[in-house]
Amino acid sequence: MGDNRTATATRPARPGAPARRSGAAGRLGRSPFSLVTALIAVGVLALVLFPLGRMVVRAFEGFGHQRWESLVGAPWFSGMLRDTVVVVGASAVIALLVAALLAWINERTDAGIGMLGDVLPLVPLFLPTVAMAVGWVLLANPDVGLLNGALGVVLEPLGISYEFNIFSYPGLILVYVLNLVPFAYLPIAAGFRSMDPSLEEAARVSGARASRVLRTVSLPAIGPAVLAGLLLVMVVGFALYSVPVIIGTRPDIDILAVRIIRSIRQTYPPAYDDAVLLSTMLLALLLVLWVAQRRLVGSGQFARIGSRSTGSSRIELGPWRWPMRSLLWLYVTLAAVLPILALGIVSFQTYWQPDLLASEWTFAHYERILFGYPLGQRSVENSLFLGLVGGGITVLVAALVIVYAHRRRNLLGKVADAVAKLPAAVPNTVLALAFVLALAGPPFQLGATLLILALAYFVVYIPYASIASEASVASVDNSMEEASGVSGAGEGRTFARILVPLMAPGLFAAWALVFVRILGDLPVAVLLGTGRTPVIGFVLLDVWDQGIFNRVAALALVMTAITVPVVMVMMWLGRPRWRRAKRARAYRARA
């Protein structure tokens, strides 16, 4: 029938048609919105790759061979490598076991406590890392540690003498583990959650006992998730700076991330060469782990919130139910409650001492930190500004880039997607160093400005925002966008009116997370912050170096006290009011 139709087909568009019907013919994807998005993606690309590229080039330029040899031959090098591998390796394995246990309790047994249980293992993510580290120093310092004080009251009458000592391998590893558990918990819990409970039921009705079910069905099913968790924890562990700088320095446990910053900050003249070479080494190691992780995880590992298995299919623990459930609370107590309590107590004590009855109490440390210290107030203002505004922009840009990549599966989309997640493998120590080298001096002259801090935070935290955005985009059905398109809305309008509101829960959570991390950041603050542009982390390390623990406690608690209400407000703003309906429709669509 086609032939006689071509005559009519060449007719021009109806002249009197309204604007949207006139068919302004163009190729797919030339709207101003996608142009702007593409430009932003290119900008992100440049911001991530340029400083790192400069640094790597610097590591291999000139007679690099010799420099590498002198680095590896340095007397401290092999010890540093051993310490780092031991601490990070041990912490990663222990954190993985703890996380797997907590995830199993929450997802597969009747000891889970619903939404609260989902949140508890993630609490440390929303507290500044450095506050936890300082808190533990106050708790388990030999002699004056608050826990040791309490322990003494119990043990001394029994004639036993025992003390916790945070300044030791076990102490350092403990705080590492507390920090790393959430990172392993996320993929493992998702693995348990996305596992079809009928797999276990099938094994059970086939006659297998609970232990056999666990061994032959449950564990193999979440194997990939466990492996992904291990690699993620290694990446985060190698990059961790706040914990070893606070705890590892005194017992001389030499950690790579600390060594990088020390070779600039506490060496005269700054040994940029050492820092660059060490960073390049760390970068190469983490890139290998990161690639392995992306290979193994693939897609679809992140289960959606709400798709939890029903109570009936859960394993009944019987008498073990309450002990298992209390493990959840124990973790939160160790990772959040005790350290914050210690910060609170010590920040109000005139002098730090474990005996609370004999203590004198004062507000002086807060007054001194916030009003007596010239940088205190400004640092809080700067950090708040960077966290709220910078963090917000970071999340919005990440959402744009991820939506673009999700929609357009073209080359730029793929590259932007990868680049927006790449910095996850780059420790903020290394990124901060790269920013100093590339942007602080000529021709950019960004040293000692808030802009360089903002740009560094943007690059450091865009992976967090990207991964959160990706999960949010994936949970929004394609037809939501398409319905907007066929209703006549362009891409910009669809993004603003449909996608952003629907992604809001995930985006606000990402914003809260980025805010907390910026506020509690140390490495970027130390390398890029200055007396003219102080941020809280910069001041905190300064006060720490002066050795006045009460003031450190006060500042760390101020940091924490700011984050809690901000996180709660953001979670409230992003609360999903329509979740019930969304889930119902997802079920229907599946049926």
Binding site: A9, G16, R20, A25, L28, S484, G488, I498, A504, K582
Partner: protein, 393 residues
Amino acid sequence: MPADGTDPDAAAAGRLRLEINDLCKEFYRTGGERVRAVDQVSVDVHPGEILVLLGPSGCGKSTLLRCVAGLEQPDRGRMLIDGAVVYDGEAGTMVPAHRRDVNMMFQSYALWPHMSLRDNVAYPLRVQGASRKQARAKADDYLELVGLPGLGRQYVSTISGGQQQRVALARTLINEPSVVLFDEPLSNVDAKVRSQLRRELLRIHQELGFAAVYVTHDQIEAMGLGTRIAILRDGGVEQLADPVTIYEEPATRQVAEFVGEANLIPARVTRVSGEVAVLDCVFGEIEIAAARLSGSAADGDRRAQPAEGAAVVLMVRPEHCRLVRDPAGGGGANSWAATVDATMYAGSRTEYSCQVGTGQLTVWELATPHPLRAGAAVRVEIPREVVRVVEAG
């Protein structure tokens, strides 16, 4: 609203709402295998017409619809909506979805959970630049039209699936698009609600007179709603005709098999004498109208009449066959002794599977109070005029 849809312009009233010429769309499966989801399809939609795309899953009907909407980019061909080119493979023209004068109702309804029902419905008008007040007023009118007056302030989470469908329909119709696209919109609700919504849809269509393309795999829906039906198979159009022609005069055996129940009988032409042709099949001799051999009347392409001895495939609908309870009675042409193999009582009819000679024949008897048991000896008769030729050598 005028019956011809949205355009008061008399000259435009008769213009085709949608023209699709030789449209092709290919996919690559993982592994590199190339699949033609849409294979040189040419159809058009007249004003006020509902064109149903009917076919089994995987036949390319949804892909074709998404190409019309602008959600998929075809590889070749040409498409015009209301006379304006929206896709031209040779000229490289691809008008994006939001600039096409269409709207679409999705299988999942795709209602936005963060907006009230009224704002959902008003959205297409707001996009066109209408004021909030105007858009909401018109949205309320449309919610009333689809039978949901006063629910404008509710949210998606608080209404039932059937109500969601009506809201989605209102949103699809409110900006009076040249072509309304439906992607299996009734497949997600139970049978009762479905037939009710089907009647509602017909009523609203009569009231507004929009032109539509309607994708479904449900033949009852297709028959009930379609002005014309395009049967799709492997990405191509197998037959395009009104529902009665599709059912009564299927162009191919695939159409006959897909739409309704069909007895397919391979046969060989023995002789043609005047108006009657005599053929040989598993039942014995069968007589048919000789004109049938050269293709059905409605089908444009008449075949050359098969020569004597040529192999053909005959088709008879089971409700057109007659079952005579007295095995000795009847007689004459197209009447054979048979045995009931299996009986299935279905309320309004009884379905018999009969052994006739060495062949099988399915016979439906309508409104039978006393169905026969398996094993009963009967006669079956096929009136000469109900036999169709669906495949000719």
